[in-house]
């Protein structure tokens, strides 16, 4: 494999061979994708969001197509933190040598703390991503990420029990994402991932019913890219900690744009669902896209737009 250092970035001192990370929930635990291609070309992987107990998630239908994206209301289906540690992480490690980002969700402060403590003890995990922005569960998830105070509280509590870099994954469903980002930074967050999905809805007009059983769900896909980019730009100009930019990225040019806005790394989400080779193709297309724009190294364009 040709090592192209022009693509590499550093995330809290952790070396990524390139900034491309499949977003949590759009790559399973990586093992299905390992059957398709060598996933070691990925900068890192953010695994499926994990909670203390196993969860089936929301009733089906959970998916609604939109004009330039989709709505999902999966509702954090996962096998629970213990199973993730005992089975999923070792399975992924069989195929993947690069950094693993463990994505943690919760329904209470205690749950976040307990899960993060457990995952912090796992050698196999390099970064902890705390999801305070899932729009698909009640009394948890997004509830923690929609006020600066509660987001800071989760950040602080998680930081108290962890030694690994902690990224807080933020919700766009707020009036002022900058104040929440700042609160997380002040509470000790090592980085931020943004954005999670936008709360959306579709109706089946023939049935006169919402398409997804949970009525509403998280909207993602190419349509949300401008919103994500704007939020990354705003937060990057207000915070010093690194940002993983996420939301509607589907091409090498999107990656460059998101990094110019201030992202150190980027996550590809919904695009993986329509094209299982999306991350691979974006990585392969990056050098040509950079050449066209006379970019020598991706590191040099992070936050270059003021």
């Amino acid at each position: 494999m040709v090592i192209n250092d022009k693509l590499s970035v550093e995330l809290c001192g952790i070396h990524l061979s390139n900034p491309i990370i499949p977003a949590s929930g759009t790559f399973g635990f990586g093992t299905e994708m390992a059957e398709l291609y060598d996933i070691n070309i990925l900068g890192a992987i953010s695994i499926k969001g994990t909670t203390r107990e196993a969860r089936f998630g929301n009733p089906t239908p959970r998916i609604a197509e939109c004009e330039a994206g989709l709505i999902n209301s999966v509702g954090l289906q996962n096998p629970g933190i213990d199973k993730v540690i005992s089975t999923e992480l070792p399975n992924l490690r069989k195929y993947f040598r690069n950094p693993i980002i463990a994505n943690i969700s919760g329904f209470s402060l205690d749950e976040y703390v307990e899960c993060c403590k457990k995952i912090n003890d796992e050698e196999q995990v390099e970064i902890i991503e705390v999801n305070v922005s899932c729009p698909n569960v009640h009394n948890g998830g997004m509830a923690f990420g929609t006020s600066a105070e509660s987001a800071a509280k989760v950040t602080q509590a998680v930081k108290d029990v962890t030694t690994k870099p902690v990224f807080i994954k933020l919700s766009p469903n707020v009036t002022d994402i900058v104040s929440i980002a700042r609160a997380c930074e002040d509470a000790g967050a090592d980085g931020l991932t943004l954005i999670n999905t936008l709360l959306g809805m579709r109706i089946d007009t023939a049935r006169r019913q919402p398409i997804v059983a949970n009525k509403m769900g998280g909207f993602s896909g190419v349509a949300i890219f401008p919103v994500a980019l704007r939020m990354v730009y705003q937060v990057a100009n207000a915070c010093k900690i690194p940002i993983i930019g996420c939301g509607g990225i589907s091409s090498a040019n999107d990656v460059i744009e998101m990094m110019m806005a201030g992202a150190t790394a980027i996550q590809v989400g919904a695009e993986n669902l329509r094209n299982p080779y999306a991350c691979k193709e974006i990585i392969e297309n990056l050098p040509t896209a950079m050449e066209k724009l006379k970019i020598d190294s991706l590191k040099n364009i992070i936050g270059i737009v003021k």
Binding site: G25, M33, R62, P276
Partner: protein, 244 residues
């Protein structure tokens, strides 16, 4: 699973709303009858999952009903059009040591039964096929199943052809002797078969999918053997594991 380019060789209506599309391309990822493909369609965000009707080396046939934007676009596609398709998805039907399999298809649940019937007949089994439709105008593939050498029965809801009523009525009326069943069709049909047939069997289920290859958890269902993804551990579930 493989992501492959296929070329349409023919695309024609079988009934007012049901079309048959033949394609050429690499089918080596398809292992079992009852698997499905996921087709990328220009301008639509998600792929369209369609069951496989028949396949052989470099040949793929699907039968689909026009029900929305995606299938409307498909119906207008001309031969030589190239399609980006994920092939070899899902588990498909299992072939066991039964002697007298009963294959039940309802509406667009009929197509996956075709390749299955072929495979079972090739093993020398005595294959009975029951096809259910609403009315005479909707019937397709009766002759194709007869030509394979299966015993074919029809049920129509309005009684215009075959047994009046549902597939379960046709099974009773014709006193079909069988020791295992395979089914694909509307949920109400699957449920009726589950309740009325005393033999073991397996059924193919539908669900709205995100990816179609097991990474998004969009199409999960609960079974007696744990949570399953319709696109990955399904779409075929064994009768004994189904939770309604």
């Amino acid at each position: 699973m493989e992501k492959t380019l296929f070329k349409i060789t023919s695309n024609k209506p079988l009934t007012k709303h049901v079309y048959e599309m033949c394609l050429s391309g690499d089918t080596s990822a398809i292992k079992h009858a009852g698997q499905f493909i996921n087709i990328a369609i220009d301008g639509l965000y998600l792929r369209r999952p369609i069951s496989i009707c028949d396949y052989s080396e470099n040949f793929l046939k699907i039968i689909y009903k026009v029900v929305g934007k995606g299938t409307e676009q498909m119906a207008a596609m001309l031969p030589n059009t190239t399609l980006d398709i994920l092939v070899g998805l899902g588990n498909g039907f299992s072939i066991n040591n039964c002697h007298k399999p009963l294959l039940v298809g309802g509406g667009v649940g009929v197509p996956p039964m075709y390749n299955l019937a072929k495979k079972l007949l090739a093993q020398g089994k005595q294959v009975s096929v029951v096809l259910g439709f609403n009315t005479q105008e909707e019937i397709f593939y009766y002759n194709e199943f007869v030509n394979l050498g299966a015993n074919v029965y029809i049920a129509t809801v309005d009684g215009s052809v075959g047994t009046k009523g549902f597939v379960t009525n046709a099974i009773e009326t014709n006193n079909i002797d069988s020791d295992y069943f395979y089914a694909c069709g509307p949920l109400s049909m699957l449920r009726a078969l589950y309740d009325k047939l005393t033999i073991d069997g397996e059924m193919s289920f539908e669900e709205r999918m995100g990816c179609g290859f097991g990474i998004c958890m969009g199409c999960s269902c609960k079974t007696k053997h744990g949570n399953k993804r319709i696109c990955k551990e399904g779409p075929v579930l064994k009768k004994e594991e189904i939770i309604w």
